[in-house]
Amino acid sequence: MSLKRKHSNVEEESSLNEVVHKLEASVLSSHENLNNIVEIYKIASGDDAEAAFTAANSLGRIYSALWTKGLLKRAKSQQQNKDSTTAAAKVSEWIRENYKQYVDLLKSMLGNSNGPIQIAALRLLLQMIDKEGQSMCKSAGNYVFPNDSFLEAIEIILNSSDSSEHLLRTLAESYLNAYDDLRLYFYRDLVKLASPDYDPFKNRSKRGPRASSVQHSEVFVQNAFAVMNQIRTMPKTSNENMSLWVALPKNSSDAEPSVLSPAAHTRAFSEAWLALMRLQLNPEIYKQILLMMHKRIIPHMSDSKLLMDFLSNSYETGGSVSLLALNGLFTLITEHNLNYPQFYEKLYALFDRNLFHVKYRARFFRLLEVFLGSSHLPAYLIAAFIKRMARLALFAPPAGIVTAIPMIYNLLKSHPSCMVLIHRMPEYDSETGEEKVDKDCDPFIADEPDLSKCQALQSSLWELETLQHHYYPNIATLAKIFNEPFHKPQFMLEDFLDHTYTTFFESDTSRKPKKAPALATQPPTTLIRPGDALSDFMSL
């Protein structure tokens, strides 16, 4: 039975599709049958998804044809003959009315929760924009982009919580990455949308009041970031073969429309990112922006200094955000001559107890190697960093210790004046010649944020000596290098950065032991040895 019903359904659908096709053919064949558009629109806005889809497509084709024929154009003559009730004007009015309805339908489809429908709607909308743009270009005589329609589409996409990942990706990859004008206007629209004084009701009096107004929702930020994140192209030089969605009119009077100038693109890009950064970012997106900052944002910025505030604020936030900001800051400092006051103090402040436990440890140490690499840094500064690092390494996981030890070794090697940290000869009294016995031989102040006052240079690295007794044998061996003469070349820090518990474990278990494991001298007689730590608080 159900089969039968299904069969009948299929028949019905196919018949509806056929009806749509017939209607479309009739509309395209002659202007007489323009009324069929209403029929198709009914089907398109109907419940039958399949047929609606077909209908929307066919409507798209019909309106494209109508755009090319110029029937949809809002001509000057039209304005003039507003009150004249010529037949042509009436038809035109009617068609435009229907077209608006159709565009609204597409927009509502864009807000649909169904992914494929969203994508189809996007495609159709952009198609319409293309046609509209072409016709506008034709009438205006130079390059015009129908930004109003585009802005509305973008707004819907970015504000809709239903916008699927797929839709965003399609938008970014098939359209924004491919067509320079779309990207440029996307950036500009984003700036408009993100600006706090943007009034969504300005252009659309017809729309009902919207839920979110000035306060940008998290959805907007997320979507905007998702799209921005996926835009990877950027015009570098001004050249003619920019690919444009709305084709450049041939007899363009304007020699150089702004779409073709890379400067405009760069400016739009910068403004868009800055606008995004001004929004309320959640930590996840914040970190991601920082992560891509030095590679993908800074190089394309019109003026990198504009990022300074953002980066400085991030750097001062503390925690992992600071670590990430460091990278962008580093690029600014090294490549854009940024002068950051009290940079090393801030860097020192980053050495908190989380340092060895965060994910971005490797990234941080790479940069740290550069920052501390200069041999012109004062010894007290290096000593403070070393001491702080050693102190933190005492409680770090093996992967962190394995990074810290070569780092300290390299620092000691390039700053021999810090060797007193691991080798301090006793001071002799100048008068009596006896050894001075200092009661408190560790004057280091761990909480002192000022590098010059923490007295690290007067301390010793007992932490390193203790790490020579680390339970993991490789670390213990590595820590023994401080006992040997400093003849080794500097360590390649890169070799030590990417360890984790798992890599340690696997390196230990991957090779087969050569000989039988050593057994205890005295075989156990009980599971919990009477007197061991477990017996203190646990009973079988």
Partner: protein, 907 residues
């Protein structure tokens, strides 16, 4: 030599004429001049110059003659004159040396030459025949002694025909045996006894023999020989005395024997204790045949199984020392491994022998002197009823095994006993049985049904097929209770004892693996299995692991790898994948393996895995936290001896401690004392531990094993239990790490945290924290404060770069204070050795070439000599022939002349 030197000196001093030199030489040696004349006194004494001095003189003259001939001495010129170096070839007497060489060649090469082309012949092998140094008499003597020796050595004692024996045993006199001349007069010494009796006066002969001046040969008697009669008397006296003594001895022996006979009954009772009954019967029945009886006793004694000789039993002291040595060696190895050095560098098989020694000690056959301490044949049946006390029944099952493979009958007896005891145990344990059944059913539900609840299976078979894997084991032991399973394990170990068959090693190793698996299953039971059972199994594993450490180690490694996978998965999914069994296994590995090693194929990865768990896992429930605490304690156990820093464990314990009093929503509150950073998620999860001041704790107890198995909601009791566990662990770690140089850095945060805990624990009347916890806390606080103070006082700045200064290479020549030119001072030993050898080879080569050349010369000389002889003999022969012919001719001519003359005359 002195002369030689003198000659040399002369030769060196100047060029004198040969005559002058001869003269001085003659006079200095005393041949000419005044001394050479024989003094008158000498002549008077009859010492003649010719007889004594002529030899000496001749020798002296010869020496002078040879010394004066400059061509006989070869002086070897030295290339370098070295002070203090004496060479024996400075001056060589060439003539003598050459002559010696020629002699030698004659004896060797010449002989050979003579012997060439000769085969066979008779070799005279008579003793001394070829030795020209022996006189004929000496030869005879030697031959005689040799003959005697030969005869002596070759079973001559059995030669009945020789009467040599007789001489030794009995004395003869004039061919008669002395026994025959027994009844002669009294011995000479006893005659004065008679005198005494008769007259009271001593006989004059006796007086003269013994009294003053007696015992000394009389002046006149010095040369006098004893008369024949006297000699005879002496001899007779002696023999009589001997006879008398013999008699006395015999009587004594008889007396003793008689006594022995009298006591025999009682002694016999000792000797034949078991046959007492029979003997009594026999005594009654066959009274008359006492001798027969005795014979039978004798036979019994003769054929009685004698004690076989045995190695000397070790004294207690020796045993103790051996044990001590074994322990010391084991400890030495362990320390070396702890340092990360290979333990076997001393002796590769060290650990093996040690293990073997250990085994042999443990599984040694019971000996007589063991009876008191650990060989208790009856005791073992007791400890099989699940009453293992103190672990003194060490290897009881093994000993049963030993006795069983020695004597089958005995072991059967024992096993019967065991069976009886098992029955008894069933009765005795009827109440605990029910409990264990519950556990078992639970176990069956939870895990791979290790045990089922058959109650009727009181009889146990005595032998079992060795299970190869855990499933086979489960199948095998399913019908039995846990206690019976322990018995089964014991019997299996007896049955497949490693000494019985070589393939048993594999079976025992498999058993160790199975038991490890079994332990994991038992650890998961709720309510937990009794401590005794677990301990018993652990003991078995510990004793079985040495059977095949490689296989066992491999299995344990796989378990550790599985554990790590689950830890990782748990961290990723934020669920706990570790179970109580993992805790139990971790604890087992720590005690079975040498966990203090610097690197250990099983313990080190396990530590990494546990550290990852402790630092990255989100502890969200009481069970997680209990497991974490247990693992932290296990980590402490691994570092108990080696005292290596495990930051993760410290961090974990501090975090848990902080969780009890700190507000998990306030990150600053947390970061105050707690060094270890926790992610927000971890921190919030630990909120369940926060001790609410409104709650009242009823009782602080241990964290039970059941908490590891099943989660329970957190209550005040549990929070305090966790707090107490944390404090205990902190105390342990403080003690463990006191020697670290960064002790202050490690534990100062803890001090702050403890202060905070102390401040925040409720102390109101009603909600007061338990006194036990408070006391522990205060103790720990003061202890830590003390330790920190002393650590601060004792800490000194590092001197890690203190290296022995390297000497600058010197270019000054090396000066030897006592230079010996004969030794080489090449610092490279090998090179000097090679040089030495090369010189030796060259020298030998030169010598050999020279010898060959001389040999050739000698041979040529010999050949020439022979040729000359041959020629000479030929010439002689020819001469003779010629002379004969000539004489004949002359005769003939004479005759002819005569004839002619005659004819002429005739004519």
């Amino acid at each position: 030599m002195a002369k030689l030197n003198a000659v040399k000196r002369n030769a060196n001093t100047g060029k004198q004429s040969a005559l002058k030199r001869l003269r001085t030489a003659l006079s200095s040696s005393g041949i000419t001049g005044a001394k050479s004349q024989v003094s008158k006194r000498d002549r008077k004494r009859g010492i003649h110059k010719t007889t004594q001095k002529s030899d000496e003189r001749r020798k002296k003259l010869q020496a002078i003659q040879s010394a004066l001939n400059p061509f006989e001495f070869q002086t070897n010129r030295k290339k370098m004159d070295i002070l203090g170096l004496k060479r024996k070839d400075d001056v060589v007497n060439v003539a003598i040396a050459r002559q010696r060489a020629v002699e030698k060649r004659k004896n060797t090469l010449g002989k050979e030459r003579q012997q060439r082309n000769r085969f066979g012949g008779v070799v005279d092998q008579r003793i001394g025949e070829n030795d020209p140094t022996m006189d004929p008499e000496e030869r005879m003597l030697k031959r005689f002694t040799m003959e005697r020796q030969k005869r002596q050595s070759r079973g001559d004692m059995f030669n009945l025909e020789d009467d040599v024996e007789g001489e030794i045993t009995s004395l003869t006199h004039f061919g008669r045996s002395i026994d025959e001349i027994d009844e002669f007069d009294e011995p000479a010494g006893s005659d004065y006894g008679e005198d005494d009796q008769a007259s009271g006066a001593i006989g004059s002969s006796a007086v003269s023999a013994t009294h003053f001046g007696g015992f000394e040969p009389a002046a006149g008697e010095e040369g006098r020989k004893k008369t024949k009669n006297e000699v005879m008397q002496e001899i007779i006296a002696k023999s009589k005395q001997h006879k008398y003594e013999r008699q006395m001895l015999k009587e004594q022996d008889d007396g003793v024997r008689r006594e022995l006979d009298d006591d025999f009954e009682s002694v016999r009772a000792l000797l034949f204790a078991d046959k007492d009954q029979d003997d009594d019967d026999m005594d009654v029945d066959n009274q008359p045949s006492k001798e027969k009886l005795y014979d039978s006793y004798v036979r019994d004694l003769v054929f009685e199984k004698r004690g076989r000789p045995q190695d000397r039993l070790k004294t207690e002291e020796e045993q103790a020392r051996e044990e001590l040595e074994r322990l010391e060696r084991a400890e030495r190895h362990r320390l070396r491994r702890m340092e990360g050095l290979p333990s076997d560098s001393e002796s590769d098989s060290g650990s093996d022998t040690e293990m073997a020694g250990y085994d042999s000690k443990k599984k040694r056959r019971p000996e007589a002197d063991d009876l008191g301490d650990d060989f208790e044949p009856n005791a073992e049946s007791e400890d099989e009823i699940n009453v293992p006390t103190e672990g003194v029944d060490f290897g009881a099952g093994l000993e049963a095994g030993e006795s069983s493979d020695e004597e089958d009958g005995d072991s059967e007896d024992e096993e019967e006993e065991e069976e009886e005891d098992d029955d008894g145990s069933d009765l005795r344990e009827s109440d605990s049985e029910a409990e264990s059944n519950e556990q078992q059913s639970h176990a069956a539900a939870r895990s791979a049904k290790p045990v089922s609840n058959h109650e009727s299976s009181s009889e146990l078979p005595f032998t079992f097929a060795a299970p190869t894997d855990y499933d086979a084991w489960v199948e095998l032991v399913a019908p039995y209770t846990l206690e019976q399973q322990l018995v089964i394990i014991k019997r299996m170990r007896t049955q497949y004892h490693i000494r019985l068959a070589p393939q048993n090693k594999g079976k025992l190793a498999a058993l160790a693996v199975i038991l490890t698996n079994h332990l994991a299953v038992l650890a998961e039971q709720n309510p937990p299995v009794s401590k005794q059972t677990i301990d018993e199994i652990v003991r078995h594993i510990g004793e079985l692991a040495p059977a095949d450490p490689e296989q066992f180690g491999e299995y344990c490694r796989e378990l550790v790898i599985g554990m790590q996978r689950r830890i990782q998965k748990g961290i990723r999914q934020q669920t706990n994948q570790l179970r109580a069994s993992d805790v139990a296994l971790a604890r087992l590995f720590v005690s079975v393996f040498s966990s203090s090693d610097r690197y250990h194929a099983i313990i080190t990865p396990m530590m990494v895995a546990i550290a990852q768990f402790l630092s990255q896992h989100t502890f969200a429930c009481v069970r997680d936290i209990s497991i974490g605490l247990a693992l932290a304690a296990i980590v402490h156990e691994t570092q108990r001896l080696s005292r290596r820093l495990v930051p993760e464990a410290l961090n974990f314990v501090t975090s848990i401690l902080a969780a009890t009093v700190c507000d998990h929503n306030d990150s600053h509150d947390w970061s105050d004392g707690c060094v270890f950073p926790l992610s927000r998620r971890q921190r919030e999860a630990l909120g369940i531990l926060h001790i609410n001041t409104a709650e009242k704790c009823t009782d602080v107890s241990d964290i039970s094993w059941a908490l590891l198995v099943e989660d329970v909601p957190a209550t005040a009791d549990i929070r305090y239990a966790v707090l107490r566990a944390c404090l205990a662990l902190c105390r342990r770690y403080v003690d463990c790490y006191f020697s670290l140089s960064a002790f202050i850095e490690c534990f100062q945060p803890l001090e702050l945290l403890l202060d905070k805990v102390c401040l925040r624990l409720p102390r109101f009347k009603l909600q007061r924290a338990p006194d036990a916890v408070l006391k522990l806390l205060e103790d720990l606080q003061s202890h830590l404060a003390d330790q920190l103070t002393s650590a601060r006082e004792s800490r000194i700045p590092l001197k890690m770069q203190y290296h022995k200064p390297l000497a600058i290479a010197s270019v000054a020549p090396k000066f030897e204070s006592s230079y010996n030119p004969e030794t080489h001072y090449d610092p490279d030993r090998d090179r000097s050795e090679i040089l030495k050898l090369r010189r030796q080879v060259a020298r030998e080569r030169r010598g050999a070439v020279r010898e060959l050349r001389r040999d050739a010369q000698f041979l040529a000389g010999e050949r020439l000599k022979e040729q000359k002889e041959k020629d000479k003999s030929y010439a002689d022969k020819m001469k003779k022939a010629w002379s004969v012919l000539e004489s004949d001719q002359s005769e003939m001519k004479k005759l002819d002349k005569q004839r002619i003359k005659d004819r002429k005359a005739k004519i």
